[in-house]
């Protein structure tokens, strides 16, 4: 008998516009010791299911029909007191942001002890012993038990949250995006930890996430959801290797992978956006985006069909799966008519583009430094004369040529975004030079004619497409604004140029978009508008700061492909800043990996991502999950936390965590060099001697500061 048996669960939210069918007839089971993954795009009903399991639906949500059977109780209909007995004690939850889930004024240990004692009337001592035990389970030092949440790093807080979820030894632990928002290495550690706990303690777990790779690597079974419907459900390997549903096939195409074999197919996005779900009509929910949809799909809701042993798919045509699988790998299958019209533009743009491009100046960054002063108390500023600085960017050099893409990767806080923003002159550089031809970008004042001329040549695309468009501007006003600022053309010329830019970013037909406001666009469309704004000025360089990190997988691919096309066709140089190494594989010519303000490895994408040399680059690449159930990757365990960038000590920044650290690493700062016979530059003394670094590269070491 399964531990948890969800039968035909339908959940609806009452809204002003009518009932939103957040989940429709969802069925699955969870056996003891099994690990179930739930994947889907945002708004597909994943979190709604989790909330229903715990009886914590928001006040306008209700279970419309169906059952959630757990230990003889239907949780969908259980009263509050019964639910309270089950919540946390039998089924516990690890949510996305531990910062919000932990009480900031109570120590973590007390919070765990309190959770234990609420459910089990026992001695404080026993509860405390249990809390210490769970702390060790998740790999936290028991001496940190009575720390307050703010004293722990984000990753430690997330682990503390898991400790809390395990404190009562529940039957089921549900992770609802437990690692979203964490860095690659931390994400890997936490997923690994969860998997180990699940395997060792033979516990039933659920992992709810949009990250397909995390599910393929960890879970035994997977539930693929779309628009509130279960699209496919079965063993992980079956679902992702022998997919039956067109939606699963589409997700597989769109999900980036750091591995070469997976990369040989290029990314293909799923056109369109998920439906609204307010009083939906009949028909397959995916029909509007499905390349194989026929009339029947729009008229008739398909049932879940058994396609193989313990493997179901919601599609009218399971027998056509061989054809689907074959055709789904072709770009032409998925991309709508409109997209191909753009080809005529590229040939048109290509006419005069190729001329004299060899001599176009590149963007040269040398030994760039950006420091931010640390806020000090009045007393502190009197006692020490020197102000502390965050060395956000500390000696970064590279050359970005037109028509090339350099990827800048690293964990949050490594200075990659600051580097991009400093080059765009949104931040003031502290030292070093940025050159664009004979223009000294670093010395530009914050406004003025030369700055404006520079801005015309270097444009920025921001991370958050929901925030980077002014909500009170229409699409046309947004794109036209930059033209107005630079005094380009009259009203008619500007309008033509706006339409042209919109066509270049595949917002077709452009006339349908000009009058819309940002809130009338999907995330992907907004990001396209932001890109249109950036290219409307015909810049030579673009700086894109995590341009796809907030978009759904099905949309990401389209934006990445678009950026690469623009780079190739308009001969733009792109600096692509990201924490997601998988996406780099698909778009970058070169990759630079940053760690605490310094580039530790820089070289061709292929080399850096498949044969990383620097110990940190190795750890980072090894931490990226791969969406291939057959692949087992070797993890590199890193100790400790990322050091502070406030007045860092001399030596290699990675020395404190490096598994191969040597004495010299703590004294001297290694320069970025290409080792003999190597393909990429590495800043590590494993590859060259400290004596090889010119005096220029060595930072003055104050006497007495040696450890």
């Amino acid at each position: 008998m399964p531990l948890l048996d969800v039968r035909d669960l339908s959940i609806r939210y009452a809204t002003r516009a009518g009932d939103r069918h957040a989940a429709t007839d969802v069925s699955f089971t969870l056996d003891p010791g099994h690990y179930l993954g739930v994947v889907g795009e945002s708004g597909c009903g994943k979190s709604t299911i989790v909330k229903a399991l715990l009886g914590i639906l928001p006040s306008n949500g209700r279970v419309h029909s169906g059952q959630v059977l757990f230990d003889g109780t239907d949780l969908a209909r259980a009263d509050e007191s019964r639910l309270r007995q089950i919540r946390w004690r039998r089924i516990s939850l690890v949510t996305q942001s531990a910062m919000n889930a932990l009480d900031p004024v109570v120590s973590i240990g007390e919070q765990i002890v309190e959770a234990i004692r609420t459910h089990e009337r026992g001695a404080v001592g026993a509860a405390r012993a249990r809390a210490e035990e769970t702390f060790e389970m998740v790999g936290l030092d028991r001496s940190r038990l009575f720390d307050f949440p703010h004293q722990l790093s984000g990753g430690m807080r997330q682990r503390a949250m898991i400790a809390m979820a395990l404190a009562l030894d529940p039957d089921i632990v549900i992770g609802d995006e437990p690692t979203t928002g964490l860095d690659v290495i931390m994400q890997d550690q936490i997923l690994h930890r969860l998997k180990r706990l699940q395997a060792e303690q033979h516990r039933a777990m659920m992992l709810v996430t949009h990250n397909i790779a995390a599910v393929t690597e960890n879970c035994d079974r997977v539930l693929v959801m779309y628009a509130g419907d279960v699209m496919e459900y079965g063993a992980t390997a079956d679902v992702f290797l022998d997919s039956f549903n067109p939606y699963t096939l589409g997700l597989r195409n769109a999900f980036p992978s750091i591995r070469k074999t997976e990369v040989e197919r290029s990314l293909i996005s799923i056109p369109g956006a998920p439906p609204g779900l307010i009083e939906p009509g009949p028909g397959c929910r995916f029909a509007a985006r499905c390349p194989f949809a026929e009339e029947r799909c729009h008229a008739e809701t398909p049932a879940l069909v058994q396609v193989a042993d313990a493997h179901v798919s919601r599609c009218h045509f399971p027998e056509r799966v061989a054809e689907f699988r074959e055709r789904s790998t072709l770009r032409a299958t998925w991309e709508p008519e409109g997209t191909r019209q753009r080809q005529s533009w590229s040939t048109l743009a290509g006419n005069d583009a190729a001329v004299a491009e060899e001599h176009a100046p590149s963007l040269v960054v040398e030994r760039l430094q950006t420091y931010f002063p640390v806020r000090q108390s009045l007393v502190g500023s009197v006692i020490t004369r020197r102000r502390s600085h965050v060395h956000a960017v500390d000696g970064v050099s590279f050359e970005l040529k037109r028509g090339r893409v350099i990827g800048l990767a690293g964990e949050s806080g490594c200075g990659k975004t600051t580097t991009g923003m400093t080059i765009a002159r949104l931040y003031e550089p502290t030292g070093g030079t940025i050159r664009l031809g004979d223009l000294d970008v670093g010395r530009l004042r914050s406004s003025g004619g030369r700055t404006r001329a520079f801005r015309r040549r270097v444009q920025v695309i921001f991370q958050d497409p929901y925030g980077s468009l002014n909500p009170r501007f229409t699409v046309e006003q947004t794109v036209e604004e930059v033209l107005k600022v630079h005094g380009i053309g009259n009203a008619d010329e500007r309008r033509a140029r706006v339409l042209h830019a919109l066509e270049l970013v595949d917002l077709l037909p452009a006339l349908d978009y000009v009058e819309r406001y940002p809130h009338q666009l999907s995330g992907g469309q907004r990001q396209r508008v932001a890109i249109a704004r950036a290219i409307a000025l015909e810049p030579d360089f673009l700086i894109a700061d995590e341009p796809v990190s907030m978009l759904d997988v099905s949309v990401q691919a389209g934006i990445l492909n678009l950026l690469r096309t623009l780079v190739d066709e308009l001969n733009i140089g792109l600096l692509y800043v990201t924490h997601d190494l998988s996406t780099m594989r698909h778009i970058c010519d070169e990759v630079a990996i940053m760690y605490v303000g310094k580039v530790v490895e820089h070289g061709p994408t292929e080399e850096v991502l498949t044969r990383p040399q620097h110990p940190y680059a190795k750890a980072l690449v090894a931490a990226v999950p791969v969406p291939d159930p057959r692949y087992r990757r070797d993890r590199v365990a890193l100790q400790g936390e990322v050091p502070s960038a406030v007045d860092p000590p001399p030596g290699c920044r990675f020395a404190s965590r490096c598994p191969q650290v040597m004495d010299v690493c703590r004294r001297e700062t290694p320069a970025l060099r290409v080792p003999p016979g190597g393909a990429q530059a590495v800043a590590c003394y494993l590859f060259h001697d400290a004596s090889e670094d010119g005096a220029r590269d060595r930072r003055a070491v104050p006497a007495g500061s040696h450890a």
């Binding site: 048109l348 176009a360 700055t451 444009q459 309008r495 033509a496 339409l499 452009a510 015909e538 001969n571």
Partner: protein, 329 residues
């Protein structure tokens, strides 16, 4: 029209046979040009949307109805009852109709000088709206400029302007108003100036704090990256996003300004030749009629109370409408 970058031409070339450029040109021509009419229509649609949200709140509904009645009274009342407000009316026998309680001919009664109180009340409504709009509007403009400048530039500019605002916030209203009016002469114009001078403080603070959050929004960064200068960012990007908040303060300010004007006028610093509600109350007081002629006191008092209440209720509904969490639902 290609940029000097000699890069890939983004601008559509105009050569013949260039179907795409032609398509764009045709498309551009086919589109209705944006103009003041479209702008007006958009504003009207927005106002209707706001009104619809406000209307769903019952108290706001009451406020809206009351406010519309006041606006009608102020707008067309004096045109219907055309007697000048300070003219003594006479009875049929030629005597001055003084101290008459409410009757069919004089629904609000008359005062000691035989002036028709209903006429004075209607003129008072006009003055109330006039004073309220000028004082609150003027104050909001000053407050917005101060708050926007302080919030946007930050650092020393912010420090200086906010300390000035703090000092201004410490000024008590009545004593300041009395001293000011004693020095510069009583009268409605000076009262409005005082009200505007004292009203800007809280909008300044609120606008500043809103600017502090808005200016960190990515679209402001994006505007800067696009090459927009400070003034452009402040007035083209930030100001439109502040307007709902500013309107809310203007609405709330109208109520405050009207009651403040009434209290100053009641104390005798108003213009005796302008019929405002405070002025009517003042003349009732100086005539010693507060206890004897109830209608002389009750009607202007009631008008004041209801007007300020209706403004408050409407503002409350409006606040709900501009609250981003409740919008677009």
């Amino acid at each position: 029209m290609a940029g000097e970058g000699a890069g890939a031409s983004l601008a559509p070339s105009t050569g013949t046979g260039d179907s795409v450029a032609e398509r764009v040109a045709r498309a551009a021509a086919a589109r209705p040009a944006p103009g003041p009419r479209r702008w007006l229509m958009e504003r009207a649609a927005w106002a209707a949307g706001t009104l619809r949200i406000a209307w769903s709140d019952h108290l706001a509904k009451v406020g809206i109805v009351m406010l519309v009645l006041f606006l009608l009274a102020a707008g067309i009342g004096p045109e219907i009852r055309t007697t000048p407000p300070f003219e003594s009316v006479t009875l049929e026998d030629g005597r001055i109709a003084k101290n008459l309680p409410p009757s069919r001919a004089y629904p609000a009664g008359t005062n000691r000088l035989g002036q028709d109180l209903l006429v004075q009340l209607l003129h008072g409504a006009r003055m109330a709206i006039f004073v309220g709009l000028l004082a609150a509007g003027g104050g909001a403009i000053i407050g917005t400029l101060v708050g926007l400048t302080a919030g946007y530039y930050g650092r020393l500019v912010d420090q200086t302007l906010m300390r000035v605002t703090d000092v201004a916030l410490a000024i008590p209203f009545l004593p300041f108003a009395l001293v000011f009016l004693a020095l510069f002469g009583p009268g409605l114009r000076n009262i409005v100036i005082i009200l505007a001078l004292l009203f800007w403080r809280s909008p300044a603070r609120v606008v500043r704090s809103q600017v502090l959050t808005l200016k960190e929004r990515p679209y402001i960064q994006a505007a800067r990256a696009g090459g927009a200068g400070n003034v452009r960012i402040m007035f083209v990007h930030l100001l439109p996003n502040l307007l709902p908040l500013i309107f809310l303060y203007v609405a709330l300010g109208i109520g405050g300004a009207v009651s403040a004007e009434a209290s100053v006028s009641f104390l005798g610093f108003g213009d005796p030749l302008t019929a405002t509600w405070g002025q009517i109350l003042n003349s009732a007081f100086t005539a010693g009629a507060m206890r004897t002629a109830w209608w002389w006191v009750v009607f202007p008092g009631l008008a004041l109370t209801l007007f300020v209440t209706s403004i408050y209720l409407v503002s409350r509904g409006y606040e709900e409408a501009v609250n981003p969490r409740l919008r677009r639902m």
